[in-house]
Symmetry: C2
Subunit: 550 residues, 2 copies
Amino acid sequence: MLLWLKNYHRQLLAGDLSAGVIVVLMMVPQGMAYAVIAGLPPVLGLYASVLPTLTYALLGSSMVQSVGPMAITSLMTATTLAALAPSGSALYVAMATQMTLIAGVVLLLCGLLRLGFLAHFLSRPVLSGFTTGAALLIGASQVKTLMGGSFSTINLPGASIGLLALVALWLGKERLAPLMIRLGLASPLANSLSKLLPVLVLGVATVSVYQGDLASAGVVVLGPIAQGLPSIGVQLLSLEQMRSLLAPSLLLGFIIFLSGQSASVTLAQKRGERINANRELLGLGGANLASALSGSFPVTGSISRSAVNYAAGAHTPMASVFTAGLMALFLCIPTGWLASLPMPALAASIIIAVLGMLDFDTPRQAWRFDRSDAVAWLATLSGVLLVGVQSGVILGVAISLGGLIWRASRPHIAVLGRIAGSEHFRNIQRHNAQTHPQIVMLRIDSGMFFGNAELINDRILEALQAQTAHVVLVLSAVNLIDTSALYSLAELNRNLLNRSIKLHLAEVKGPLMDRLQQSDLLLKPLSGQVFLSAAVALDSLSAQLQNSHA
Amino acid sequence: MLLWLKNYHRQLLAGDLSAGVIVVLMMVPQGMAYAVIAGLPPVLGLYASVLPTLTYALLGSSMVQSVGPMAITSLMTATTLAALAPSGSALYVAMATQMTLIAGVVLLLCGLLRLGFLAHFLSRPVLSGFTTGAALLIGASQVKTLMGGSFSTINLPGASIGLLALVALWLGKERLAPLMIRLGLASPLANSLSKLLPVLVLGVATVSVYQGDLASAGVVVLGPIAQGLPSIGVQLLSLEQMRSLLAPSLLLGFIIFLSGQSASVTLAQKRGERINANRELLGLGGANLASALSGSFPVTGSISRSAVNYAAGAHTPMASVFTAGLMALFLCIPTGWLASLPMPALAASIIIAVLGMLDFDTPRQAWRFDRSDAVAWLATLSGVLLVGVQSGVILGVAISLGGLIWRASRPHIAVLGRIAGSEHFRNIQRHNAQTHPQIVMLRIDSGMFFGNAELINDRILEALQAQTAHVVLVLSAVNLIDTSALYSLAELNRNLLNRSIKLHLAEVKGPLMDRLQQSDLLLKPLSGQVFLSAAVALDSLSAQLQNSHA
C-alpha cells in the first residue's frame, strides 16, 4: 500500500495536478446534482468529494479511480428513504448518513474477510439492464424540475432555461470534442475538456439568472450554500431504525462495490495494471465511512469521472489528493454567486449525464450471440422499472445465477468415434468417425458440478445400447468435478455394474486426477480402468473383447 | 402420460399389490408420526396418504415413487406456523392446509413453465447439511414426548415404554434383516420386511397399554382417530394471512420438489429409467393440491419409502394406487384399538427414522476431495441449527451458488509450450516444453462467463512479457462463452492492440465458433487470426516473425 507515494517523483506532478483541477470542475456540479437525486441538500454533494475522495486515494488499489457521489447510489438512497422519512427533513438526512455508515462498515468487513469475489455475482447483461433502468428512473424524476415546476406548475422562464441548457449540453456533448480536435488539441485532452461543458453551461445559466433577477420571476434556484468544511462526527439512530435500513444498505453496499470495482478494472486493464478486489472493498468501505463521518451520502467510483481523471493526466492517486484539497478550498471561499444557479439547468445536466448510462448495445449484441442473455437484460430492466431499484438488484443476482444453472442444465456430451487410421477421436454427429458396437465413448464438454451432475448421468445412460459392455468417459474438457458430481459418478459406476457394464475414464487432467486419488469414492470401486488417452482405451478394450470372444 | 396404465398386464399385479400392502403398513405409523412433527392431529397424516398418493401416481413420471407425508416438510410446516397460530388450533390446521395449497399451486405453475431446472440449485453437501440439521431438530423435538412428559414432567411408565421401543427399534434396524436372510429369505424381501418393524413395535406397545390400562397411569396416548374418509373442500384464509404464508410456502415448495425429485432420480437411475423434472413438478404439485383439498398437510416423495416400494415388488404406479386404496379402506374400518397407541413409542419411531437422515459421510468425503464443499456442509448445518430451517434453505441456495462463483473466481490458465519434435502442446509447469520468446500461448481451462471473465483477462495480461508480440488463446477446453465474457475478450483485444500485441484464437469448438460468427463484437475487430490448432498457430506466427526480421 502507498507504494506510489514512496516512489513519487516530480515528473508526475504536472499530470496529477491538472487532472485534479479538471476533476474538481466536473465534480462541483456533479456532486450537487447527485445530492439532488438523493433528495438531499446540494452542499452534501460537495462534502462527499473531500474526505471520501482522499480516503480512497490512500486505501484503494486503483491508480486513477475518482471516488465521489454517483447517480445510481443516490437514486437507491432516495428510493429507500422515500418511505421512511419526509424528504429533506433532518431525519431524512440522518438516515442517508446512517445508510452510508452501514454500507461503509459492511464493505470494510467484506474487505477484511477477503470477499472480493462478490464482484462477480452480476452478469454484464444484468448489470446493463439494471443501469439502464436506473438511468430511466433518474431521468424521469428530473423532467418536472427541468420544466421549472418545483411542484406541479410549469414556470416559463425556468422551462426556457432548462430546455436551452439541455440543447446546449446535448449539442456540445457530440460536437465539442471534434471541434477542439480540429482546432489542434490532442484527442485525449479535447475529450477531457469537453467534459467541462456542464460547468460552462451552468455558469452561463447562473450569471443570466443573477443578471436578469429571474429568481423573482419564479425560476427555482439553488439558494445559498453553507460556507466552510463539514464538521466531523457520527449520529447513531435507534436500533430499530438501523434495522429497517440494514437490508437496503447491504444492497447499496453491493452496488457501491460493483460500480467502483468495474470502473477500476476497466481502467486498470487499459493501463496494464492489476486491481485487488479486496483492497477495493477497503478503499470503498473507508470512503463511505469518511462520507458518513462528514454527514454526507454514499460514494463510489464512477467510470466516466475516472476516465476523465486518467485522460487529463492522472498517473497516481495524488490526482485525487489534489481533487480533495481543491474541493476543500472551494468550500472555504465565499460562494454566494452560486445561489443563483437555476435548478432547471441542473436538471438538464442530470438528464444529459444519465443518457450516457443507457445501454442498448449490450442487449443488441446479446440477442445475436446468446438470446438468454438478452432475455436477462430485459427482465432486469423491467424489474427495476416495475418493481423498484432495490428489488432490481436482488432480481439481477437471481437472474445471473439462475441463468448459470439453467445453462448448466443442458450439458453438451459428444459420442466419440475414431477418425479412420488416426489417433483422433471426434463427435460422430459432426465427423465421419468409426465406433465399436460394444464400447461407448463419451466426451463430456462441461465442468461437472451439482448443477448438471444428475443430468450428465441421465445422458450417459441414454447413450447406452443393448450390447454395450464398456463406457469410456473422455474427460479432456472437464476442468472441475465437485463433490456432488463425484457422488454422481460413483452412483453411475454402481448402476452400470449392476447391468454388467464397466465404466472407464480417459484423459483425466492432472490437477483433477490428483484430487480423485485423495478420495476413495470413485477410483477404488471403479469397475473399469483409467486410460491416458481415448485411443489407448479403445485399443485396449477392443483387444480384451476379442480375447474373451476367442 | 399413463403409458404404464395402457400397457398394464396381469404379470405385474402380484408385485404391485404386495408393494402396496407393505407400503401401507409402513405409512400408517409414519403418517401419524409426521403429523405429530407438524403439530397436527395424527389422522391428517393418514388423509395425506390417500388422494395425494393417488394423484402423484397418475401425474408423476416415476414408476416407483411413493408420495405422502415426510419429516422435513412437516418440520417446515411446524416452524412456520409456530409464530402464527396456537399449536393444534383450528387456525393452525387451516394455515397448514393453506401452505400446502400455495405450495401445490406454485409447483403446478413451475411445471407448466417448465422450471424443472430449479432442482439443481442445491449442491449435495448443502442438501446433506440441511437434511442433517433438520433431522437433529426433529429428533430433539421428540425427546420430551419420548420421556413420557407431555409438558415438563417425566412419566415413568411412559418413559419406560418409550425407551423400550427405542431399544427394540434400534436393535431391530441393524439385526432384523440379516436374521431373516439367515432364515432363508431373499435379501430384498428381508430388507423390505424389516422396514415393518415399527408397525410391530407400535402394535405391541399399543396392546400393552390397552391391556395394562396404562393410560390411567399417565401414559400419553394417541386417543380416538376419526373414522371415515376426509371431506373434500378448500377453506381460503384472508389475503393478509395468505401473504404472510407466501414466502415460507415458496421455500416449502422448493424442498418438496427437491426431496421428491432426488428420490425419483435415484431410483430411476438404478432402474435405467428417466425422470422428467417438469412432470415431477406437476405430480408433486397435484399431490399437494389434493392434500390441501383433503384438509391435510404437505406431501412429497420419500427416498426410504420409495426404496421399500421398489424392493417389495412395485413395477408401476399401480402399487401406489393400491396403497391409496388400502389406506382409504383402513380409514373406513373401526380403529378404536388405535386410541391406546402410546405417544412415547411413536416418538421413539420418529427418532429412529431421523437417525437415517443424519449424513456424516458426505462431509467426510468432501473434506478429502474438496474442502470448500466440506465448509459448505458445515455452514448449512450451522445455519439450520442456529438460525432456523426456513433460513437454512435460503442459506443453502446462497452457499451453493456462492461457492460456484467463488470456484469460478480462480480459473486455471496454463502457459503452453511445444513438446520438442511433436504436434503436442502442454503446460510448461508440468512438462518440459519449448516456448517462443515473442509468442505467448495460453490454454484456458474453464468456461468463460461473468463469474470469471474479468479475472481471465487479468491473468492473460499478467502472462505477457516485454517482448511479447502475439498472444494465442487455445480454447480447446472452453465449452461456454457468455455475453459478459465476449465483451471482456473484445476489451482484451483492444487493450492488447494499444500495446501493439496481436490476439489470436486457436482450437475453437464448433458450436462456439458458430455463435462467435453471429456476433460482430470479437471476430470482426480481432487483431489476429483464428487458427485450427495450436501447432498451426505457432508455426504460422513464428514464420511471420522471421520474415519481418529478415
